[in-house]
Subunit: 210 residues, 2 copies
């Protein structure tokens, strides 16, 4: 049976641990998922390779991609733009591969609009206080930056119910296995198996004609 690939979007509050979940997921289940590679206008850093970390684009090239509808979603942070190339993702999905996208909430909702069948997962700590503690615990941001991130999280939280699944990231290993199980199970949804259903229906028809 031909299996269609899934577009899987992982989002979550800053500090929720989505990057860590993603890393462990890819490490624990090598070859099972493909990571979407973003296009970006930001300069290449030492050790980065074209097509591995990013597809590096000039501002003009990036804007042309937007104009041509070649980006599934895009956003700008600190003056640098980042976007998900449509052709790359569609190629993988058509080959039956599950593609992981780690993107912001606005981008995720753009993807869901284009692909209602995309699977949207939202990662959150168990509580708002846990989120604050994790940001403080990192020790890398000033109190101001943390306050700003929490305020952004509060605004972002309004979109949580637009996601398909909620991952309450209490223990990283548990969360990784939950994400893995959710993706596996989603492949069994009837809506993702209409070809199989059609085949069985047609095959059964012959038993009606007796």
């Amino acid at each position: 049976m031909e299996r269609k690939g899934l577009i899987i979007v992982l989002s979550g509050f800053s500090g929720a641990g989505k990057g860590t979940i993603m890393k462990h997921l890819l490490k624990k289940h090598p070859g099972e998922y493909h990571l979407s590679i973003s296009a970006t206008t930001r300069g290449k850093r030492q050790g980065e390779e074209e097509g591995r970390e990013y597809f590096f684009k000039t501002r003009e090239e990036f804007d042309a991609m937007i104009a041509a509808g070649e980006l599934l979603e895009y956003a700008t942070f600190n003056g640098n733009s980042y976007g998900t190339p449509r052709s790359y993702v569609e190629k993988l999905v058509n080959e039956g591969k599950d593609v992981l996208l780690e993107i912001e909430i606005q981008g995720a909702l753009q993807v869901k609009k284009l692909y209602p069948e995309a699977l949207l997962l939202f990662v959150t700590p168990p509580s708002a206080n846990d989120l604050k503690e994790r940001l403080v615990g990192r020790g890398t941001e000033t109190a101001d930056v943390i306050a700003q991130r929490l305020a952004i999280s509060s605004q972002e939280s309004q979109y949580m119910s637009g996601y398909d699944y909620l991952i309450i990231n209490d223990q990283i290993e548990k969360s990784v296995e939950q994400v893995y199980a959710i993706i596996s199970c989603e492949h069994f949804r009837t809506a993702r198996n209409l070809d199989t259903i059609d085949m069985i229906q047609k095959d059964l028809k012959k038993f009606e004609r007796r």
Copy 2:
């Protein structure tokens, strides 16, 4: 966090193996699921106990239950009526328990209408020919009965896409684990965690007011 129970409906073609899946699921994960007990007008058989195999009812009592809306679904086979008592299922679900219903397709669709959040699983062999072989292989039915069952399966197959998940029952152990995983994962759907989302949203609000 308070967890709400799920209503899980398992249906499938006659001979697809849904009864076997159910039995293995309950045996392999004892205490995790509750089996819905049907009301029936059929007479009690030796060894059966009121409230264990069935709730035994007279025709008048059964009809009164229908009239009072006390059955989630009901159907009649060979002159005997069978139905799912609403109060029993709702009590379990409100206690946070997952309730399993093994019912026919028409009944399943009745349940989905009453509870759109119910989880509908459809069990099928990999192909129409596999279905035929299993019915023949049992050696318990005449060719006529088998032909009739297959014709019914063909009609039933029109409703497959009304189910949430498709279980292609190729190996029983694999199917049991699939059903188990699907039920576990469904508990993470945002639509089933609106209370948690609401709590996080309210908690995060306090970080906005600085």
